[in-house]
Symmetry: C2
Subunit: 185 residues, 2 copies
């Protein structure tokens, strides 16, 4: 836009300080637009995709799992990390099948975002999936331990209001679903 200022920071050098496979922490020395130097820690992340899988009665599929980072179980829409070379849609379709056993006929992207711009390049793409069909039993990864929960939007909304659903992309999907009768979306 006209009048936009340029705050670009240029990388001078840097190194990976921790490599955890799907994510790695790098520490870079940068030159700020005012000429000064600064240190920037960045979490480089492979990206993720998620699915709002909903039935015609507006009930939806959530997965319950233990999130070690939080030290507790959560209820979230199905999601997973993007494998190298994969597209977000392919990831979402695979995760839905693996985590819940369902496949879906109709897919629509409802959100593409950067999950926490202050420190990571992680992208997240959320899809709305309709026309659900149970294709078989869930087949999660060896290290994933999941419980599939089918829940009405009304009940999910109550859990959100009660602070029992707190995962960001799930909250976005619930808000989107709550509002989707509104044509402006």
């Amino acid at each position: 836009m006209a009048g936009d200022l340029d705050f670009t920071e240029q990388r001078i050098d840097g190194e990976t300080v921790c490599d955890a496979g799907f994510m790695r922490m790098v520490r870079d020395r940068v030159r700020m637009h005012n000429g000064k130097e600064a240190t920037r820690y960045v979490l480089r992340h492979c990206g993720a995709a998620a699915v709002l899988a909903r039935f015609e009665d507006d009930s939806l599929l959530l997965v319950r799992q233990f999130r070690y980072a939080l030290g507790r179980h959560t209820l979230e829409i199905p999601a997973g990390k993007i494998d190298a070379g994969d597209e977000p849609l392919a990831t979402a379709q695979r995760e839905l099948r693996e985590e819940t056993g369902y496949v879906a006929d109709d897919w629509q992207q409802i959100m593409h975002c950067h999950s926490s711009t202050g420190f990571t390049d992680e992208t997240l793409t959320v899809f709305d999936a309709c026309g659900l069909r149970l294709e078989g039993p869930p087949a999660p990864d060896e290290h994933e331990h999941l419980q599939v929960v089918r829940i009405s939007l009304a009940d999910a909304w109550k859990l959100k209001q009660a602070g029992e659903i707190t995962e960001a992309r799930t909250l976005y999907a619930l808000l989107w679903l709550r509002c989707r009768s509104d044509e402006r979306l």
Copy 2:
């Protein structure tokens, strides 16, 4: 809920592998519910708060800044990290004042979430702020370089649809604002 399975993972031991001040990466060895061992990387984060600062005409305040993690400038609602001992509301109020120069009379929490449950305990609390008054010039931190942008909701929505606003909490706030005439929210 009845029928809930227990997937709890117990920490065996671990260490900090990278300390970046407001966040640190830890690597823990854990015992899964099935008795097997696994490694968990977790980004321990101080948490953040953000503000949807809006005027009576539904225009709002965004800040434009360079996000090194993304390698480009972004437009986002004002936000900042929570200092030790601070509450999210106090953080949001401070960030609004520092980044934009505005203070607000009316504050309402519209979202509390975990931003990326797969790898971090980062919490994010978003507030709606009305009754804005310009109190003075912005006073950002020494290392923050910002440009304040007042924009109509309609124009912000267009930027969202065009993929030019991609920051997650900003997208949530825009969706919330777009839907707020709906009493169900």
